[in-house]
Subunit: 146 residues, 2 copies
């Protein structure tokens, strides 16, 4: 079962309706290999001849983000972009060159934060970790060029 189907099933469970525009957005989102912004999606849908109102795009992205079917990452240029995700704890590696995102889990950070929380009497409920650098492909591309 692919991402779209899982999303669809989950939204239905939560009592949301599966509308044409939502389907169209879900289908389109999977084409992105790098993080995208709301405005980019709106423009791309337009160009692709998919007719969806801008408000609907914003609303749908927000909905998916709330359920963690989309994550926000910092793009090299500075703004936030959405990436397809799975609900649950996840982190991302973002390539500064090509923008590609790799998700990873394995979160030993919990323990690190645990000790900290104890010292500060701070009840930690979650965290946000994101790393950036240069992906394998871009390193190679760079070497070949030089």
């Amino acid at each position: 079962m692919g991402w779209t189907e899982r999303v669809v099933a989950h939204l239905a469970d939560e009592g949301h309706r599966l509308t044409g525009p939502r389907r169209a957005i879900l289908d389109y989102i999977l084409r992105y290999s790098v993080p995208f912004t709301s405005e980019e999606l709106i423009a791309d849908l337009q160009k692709a001849g998919v007719h969806v109102g801008r408000a609907t795009v914003y609303r749908t992205l927000e909905l998916l983000h709330n359920y963690q079917w989309l994550s926000l990452v910092h793009r090299p240029e500075g703004e936030h972009g959405y990436v397809v995700a799975e609900p649950g704890h996840q982190h991302h590696l973002v390539c500064r060159r090509c923008g590609m995102v790799t998700a990873f889990q394995g979160c030993e950070i919990e323990s690190l934060l645990g000790g900290l929380a104890e010292r500060l009497n701070f009840r930690i409920e979650g965290h946000w970790l994101e790393a950036f650098g240069v992906c394998r492909g871009c390193q190679r591309a760079n070497n070949e060029r030089v």
Copy 2:
């Protein structure tokens, strides 16, 4: 030597002028106990009768952020806010209730990411870590209320 003086000295070192508006902004910034946005600062300065142009506020915040005298954190509501910081690697604990920010260092995350980078052939150049939860004060306040 307080934060403001350190900033002032550093800016002078870097060849920047110490102007009235910059002074005013530096002085005002320290009043915040929670992260603030550019627009909030603009509005607050206005209310306080401190006359500084909006462009200048944006420019000054950007300047300070570039030198890491200000950090950006995710506020509970979702947007980014600035907090007073010290140059160098730093992370933040953000309280979901009151918005208060506590900085911390101790970054064993490096090693965690190091292993990951090796596995994925990804050259990691930096990361962004931020934790959120409930601070000591808000935990207590909550207990008393119940």
